[in-house]
Amino acid sequence: MSSEVRIAGVGLHPFGRFDGLTGTDMGVVAVRAALGDAGIGPRDVQAAFCGTAYGGVAAGHRVLGALAGTGIPIYDVEAGCASGGAALQLGAAAVAAGRYDRVLVFGLEKMPKGVIRSSFFAPWQESAGLNPAPAFFALRAQRLLAETGLTDDHLAQVVVKNRRHGVANPDAMFRKEVTVHDVLSSRMVCPPLTLFMLCSPNEGAAAVVLSRAGGGVRVAGVSLRSHLPGNVLGEESPLCGIDDTGVTPPSTLAANDAFAEAGLGPEDVDVVECQDTDAARELLAWAELGLCEKGGQAKLLADGDVFVGGRRPVNPSGGLLSKGEPLGASALGQVVELVRQLRGEAGPRQVDGARVALAHVIGRGANACVTVLTR
């Protein structure tokens, strides 16, 4: 950032299933918490950026309206699973550029149960059954296993890790430990992915207040990138989301940008929150973000490096596998977790002495966002 951007406050509505609550209701809870954490009111921000994929028209305006905070510019941002990251990038850039001194960035989602209907696909593709997201995740997982020698057991270990971490997170949906056996014997969804290896789309909201002055965790770098050429999920060639031979993955592009902006590298990172839509997605992310070489994931698991208490914990919040994934809120949920980690407020899941943190999301449209935070 050309000018330092600080996170003055964070807030969250837990991720889960909340019958009777609207996305707006959850957004209000998260935003009020973030404003309260920053010690300000809804009229003390000069702009707002709201990430949501299914929130509908003017989702951000409904939240600000409920808080009597309208009149300011409100930007509703959609970038699939990276919607909250895109909102953060826009908000941080606006503050860094001097356009605003203080802005609100939040994300919210209330998603239907089961596999999500997406306007990404044409009606004929739905009719032909060419749109099941878990099947595409499964095909990518097969490629990962074939290319690296990783096994179903490693996929299960990722779930065991994240669910263990999630036990200590009161804002997570699943707070019960599972074993490798539990994961492998849960219902087969699309081989090789079992039910426990896939995150649940759900509901929730998260918010941060960004400020150009003052203290707090610093947004040292944030970047949103996409795939070129090709898409991740879809029927069209090129199928770079499944076979990225010769193509730099968007997560790597975003990480390179964010590290360059921060003047840091993967070796400097103390704690990571990364996209774990499914267990294979997390293992892919480790290599794409430079945490290990391709195939080096097995050693990080075996050595315990990626567990809380290890050398560089990944998904201390429990990840999406424990929290579920409310699309617009998930990226900012990661940022809220990492701010708490960097402040030393993470309780039993605290990563001791964390000074540099990385948040990563990737999803439809091959939108990837990486945020580097420092204290």
Partner: protein, 130 residues
């Protein structure tokens, strides 16, 4: 009356029931793609010409779908995967496959398969089978 193609821009079904996937080819990039796009999706070259794609290939990846995805009213389970079509250069297409009895490397051919269409009436989509 013969059933219609699920998407006439993607799948042509002749009177005799013969199915053809409709792709594109760019002389500049030398690459094939599917479905037909206005420019080469790999390079952006704007000299794409329509190309009837080969009706045979080999299975590259395969998984099984147990639960119907949104908007799908056909039978489950069904197979979903990627077939490498015959010819050069390499072209991979996402396709329906049989749910069982399929392995990577299997030779498969293009067939039509009846499914409930976007409007509910039966239409023809495609499937690769041994």
């Amino acid at each position: 009356m013969a059933l219609l193609s699920i998407a006439s821009s993607v799948l042509r079904v002749d009177r005799d029931g013969q199915a053809t996937l409709l792709g594109g080819w760019s002389p500049t990039s030398g690459l094939r793609h599917f479905p037909l796009a206005p420019v080469c999706p790999f390079t952006g070259a704007d000299d794409v010409t329509p190309l009837d794609l080969p009706r045979a290939g080999a299975v590259w990846l395969h998984t099984t779908v147990q639960a119907p995805p949104p908007g799908y009213a056909g039978p489950v389970p069904y197979g979903l995967g990627i077939v490498e079509l015959d010819g050069d250069p390499l072209l991979r297409v996402v396709t329906r496959l049989p749910a069982e009895g399929i392995a990577v490397g299997d030779r498969v051919r293009l067939h039509t398969e009846e499914v409930p269409g976007p409007e509910g009436d039966p239409v023809l989509t495609w499937v690769f089978r041994p």
